[in-house]
């Protein structure tokens, strides 16, 4: 038996927007919040703006690796370190 998700209002959807974008909602609530943003003309622009900002932030803080010299130093110190106390 399938049920269509119970609709939620604008205020509730907006309250859960970041959780939706961060994949923090339960599948049921996620479906309801997502459905609201897809259908509500007033809320959709906010969804588009915030999801765009999240993508922007991810792109601008691209993954940077630890410098090789630092990696080597840490590795060597651990190699010569006495074994940790049990």
């Amino acid at each position: 038996m399938t049920r269509s998700p119970k609709p939620i209002g604008c205020a509730q959807a907006v309250e859960h927007l970041y959780e939706l974008l961060d994949h923090e909602l339960t599948p049921d609530l996620e479906a309801r919040v997502r459905a609201h943003f897809e259908e509500c003309k007033r809320c959709y622009p906010l969804y588009r703006f915030e999801s765009g900002f999240k993508r922007f932030l991810a792109a601008r803080t691209e993954t940077r690796r630890a410098p090789d010299e630092l990696r080597r130093k840490i590795f060597e110190r651990i190699m010569f370190e006495d074994p940790p106390d049990e």
């Binding site: 923090e24 588009r48 900002f53 803080t61 940077r64 630890a66 651990i78 370190e81």
Partner: protein, 188 residues
């Protein structure tokens, strides 16, 4: 015993060292400068190695390392930095960038014109607790529960800090974009 030492090292290499890049990136954004970030990363990894027996096997090694990093940063590295503009996080709550740009640039395309260094500076200007949430969530992809675990606060606090941190970050970038003429300010 030599063989024990080797086993510990092997285990540490396998479980902890793969998270070195994460530790370094978080250290870099917490400290704001590469030299101190190097020291903080090194100290975190050595402390973790010495306390390896306290790590519960099969749990979240990344979160465990980040917790050690956080404590080390707070106890030994946190001090006033020369920051550009200190951000008053409470003031930001009364301002929503989206509402101000909705008529002229609803997709926030002005963000794209801002250079990387300015974006990082804006992150660095956030108060420590808020910066930490942005770093762990938006840069490193930790879940709210993992961030709560690292920061030692309830999940609800993580949610509220993340909300305020993102709004404050948007506000700073918006102000910068206005200053640079990338977007017209809305009439008061």
């Amino acid at each position: 015993m030599t063989s024990d030492k080797t086993d510990q090292q092997r285990e540490f290499e396998r479980e902890a060292l793969p998270h070195l890049d994460t530790v370094y990136r978080v250290a870099l954004r917490l400290c704001g400068d590469p030299t101190r970030a190097d020291d903080l990363t090194q100290e975190t990894m050595l402390k973790a190695y010495r306390a390896w027996h306290q790590y519960k096997r099969g749990t979240n090694a990344r979160a465990w390392l980040l917790t050690i990093l956080r404590h080390t940063f707070i106890n030994e590295y946190r001090r006033q930095k020369n920051r550009g503009i200190p951000v008053d996080i409470d003031e930001v709550e009364h301002f929503t960038v989206f509402e101000n740009v909705n008529d002229v640039d609803p997709e926030g395309q002005f963000f794209d014109r801002i250079v990387d260094a300015e974006v990082l500076q804006a992150i660095d200007n956030l108060p420590d607790d808020f910066r930490e949430c942005i770093i762990l969530s938006d840069m490193e992809g930790l879940s709210y529960a993992e961030i709560a675990d690292v920061a030692g606060v309830p999940v609800g606090t993580v949610k509220s800090r993340l909300f305020r941190a993102r709004q404050a970050l948007q506000k700073q970038l918006y102000d910068y974009a206005v200053e640079m003429g990338y977007i017209k300010p809305t009439a008061p």
